[in-house]
Amino acid sequence: MSERDRRLLAFAALAVALPLALLAALSLGSVPLPAGGVVRSALARLGLGGPTPLPEMGEVILWSVRLPRVLIAALVGGGLAVVGAALQSLFRNPLADAGLLGVGPGAALGAVLAVNLGWAQQRFLAMPLAACGGALLALLLIYAIAHAGGRPTLSGLLLTGLAVGALAAAGTSVLLVAVEEFRVRTVLFWLAGGLEGRGYEHLALAAGFVLPGAVALLLLARPLDVLSLGEEEAAALSLPVHGVRILVFGLCALVAGPVTAVAGAVPFVGLVAPHALRALVGPLGRHLLPASFLAGAVLVVVADLAARSFGQYVELPLGSVTAFVGAPYFLLALRGQEGRG
């Protein structure tokens, strides 16, 4: 099979898999809805075909609970995968992902603070907004500190991110110990990652950052390709290496922060999706970034479906599901590389 055929096949498979995953996630759950009914209900909403065959209860479950949740899952997965792919080009390292940015611990600190102060129970959207604020503050802090010593280098940003992240994590631990016992659960559930109880407002929050951020990263596909040739060659090809790095780093943080705010920690998506796709569609950004977005979306939609299907007394944490799948995949992939190496 030619490389082009393989790429087209991969895109075709993703183009089929995403709607199928969405449909499965919309119809399965603790109250199963027939897939045909879901499709006809959607058509009815669009003014096509007859009235919806679902009972009113099914309509409510489908449109006010499941749809926003499933769409958030797709955005979270797509966003994390694109960020992973972009950072891997940026650092020229297949093990780079959103965890390097230092915004995750900032988001966690914001979330725990919201719980500690009782906002999470009292005010709508307080927790995701506080988490988002924490992530963006961490980003600003990282930039400000890294800038204080002149033009920030990539390693400067990384180390500052690490330090700011460690500070935020320390703050989170302090708050976690001080938080009242019955609220600890709320925090732990958030830290473990999950999409229970997320509605359209959460979707809007995530989409407001993920979609523009992902589009901007897609537009940077060619500069990222040039950057992957190495700093010197990129500079010789007239790429403003420094500016592109800072821009990509910032965009990645702007996507990853709100994603973490809405979904908590969802590991391995940013590693697995680009890694698997690079073998299928090649390393060029214009293929890899959109394919990673689609694959990440499929991955998290399915992982979220598993998370709410398998837990009896609690939902499984979404972050554990992606780690259960992602960590073994990654070990196998690394072992395969060593074998070839």
Binding site: V31, S64, R66, F124, E180, R198
Partner: protein, 285 residues
């Protein structure tokens, strides 16, 4: 004109009645489970938590109508499928979850103020009017008041032993139901002396230095044995003199009308001379 006004008033009245008397009530917390089992006819309670049948935690185990669905978790989809017209949630339910309830067309009643006995009493009255069973609430609070009044009468003038609730490393300070329980049972809460508020961790050394007369621990949690083996707290006067009270979990977590019974039970352990029977008389004047 008059007809129109009358019609509007009638419409309003029927709306108010409909709003005040939900036909199908779902409970998302154990306290509401206990109260609603007492308040509502079996057909109107459509869902309780999975803990309602757990004799270790629940004061209504074995009395929950079979028709009520036991929800293993706060699963919004199953909840919507039950078509309740009122969902009773607790103080610590997320605001984001409540918004999603509203968006799904479900009305909710939030129980709050359950950190004092007076707050519990008020919450019973509120819940009664929210589910359209005010007379049941009156019945429950009358008994609640009577038990506490009788307890107060019997404990009048006693010396208050200093009690420390201990769930290593947490204790219960001011503004907690456990703290109120200790005080209602004729004791002083050591955590209050230490200036603690809420369920918060307490360093073992501080607990030792506070030298409580009595440790209050949860029965079946292993806490009593752990105290005996604790490197420091095993040397406290209370542990050495075997003044460790193990309270059954269902009494400790009772934030319903049964909180009065829990106070009575604890008083019977702390003041056996004044309160000899372990359970309060079922009916008091």
């Amino acid at each position: 004109m008059l007809v129109v006004v009358a019609a509007v008033l009638l419409g309003l009245a029927s709306f108010v009645v409909a709003a005040e008397a939900p036909r199908r009530v779902a409970s998302l917390n154990l306290t509401a489970d206990e109260l609603l089992v007492e308040m509502l006819p079996p057909g109107r309670l459509v869902a309780v938590t999975r803990w309602a049948d757990d004799a270790d935690m629940s004061n209504v185990a074995g009395r929950v109508p079979a028709s009520a669905v036991r929800l293993p978790r706060a699963d919004l989809e199953r909840l919507i499928a039950l078509r309740p017209d009122l969902v009773v949630v607790s103080e610590y339910t997320d605001a984001d979850f409540l918004r999603l309830l509203e968006k799904s067309g479900l009305r909710h009643h939030r129980m709050s103020g359950l950190d004092t006995l007076a707050g519990i009493r008020a919450a019973i009255v509120d819940l009664g009017s929210a589910v359209g069973a005010p007379e049941a609430a009156v019945r429950l609070t009358a008994r609640f008041d009577a038990v506490l009044a009788e307890l107060g009468r019997r404990l009048d003038g006693t010396k208050h032993p200093r009690v420390l609730y201990w769930a290593d490393p947490h204790t219960a300070g001011v503004g907690t139901a456990i703290g109120s329980l200790i005080e209602a049972a004729g004791a002083a809460n050591v955590a209050r002396e230490l200036g603690l508020r809420g369920i918060v961790p307490l360093a073992g050394e501080k607990a030792f230095a506070a030298d409580p007369d009595v440790f209050l621990v949860t029965k079946g949690s292993g806490a009593a044995t752990a105290l005996l083996r604790h490197p420091l707290l095993s040397h406290t006067r209370a542990v050495r003199e075997e003044r460790v009270v193990e309270i059954p979990n269902h009494l400790l977590v009772a934030l319903s009308d049964r909180a009065a019974d829990a106070a009575w039970w604890l008083a019977s352990r702390l003041h056996p001379a004044r309160v000899p029977e372990a359970t309060p008389p079922p009916k008091l004047p």
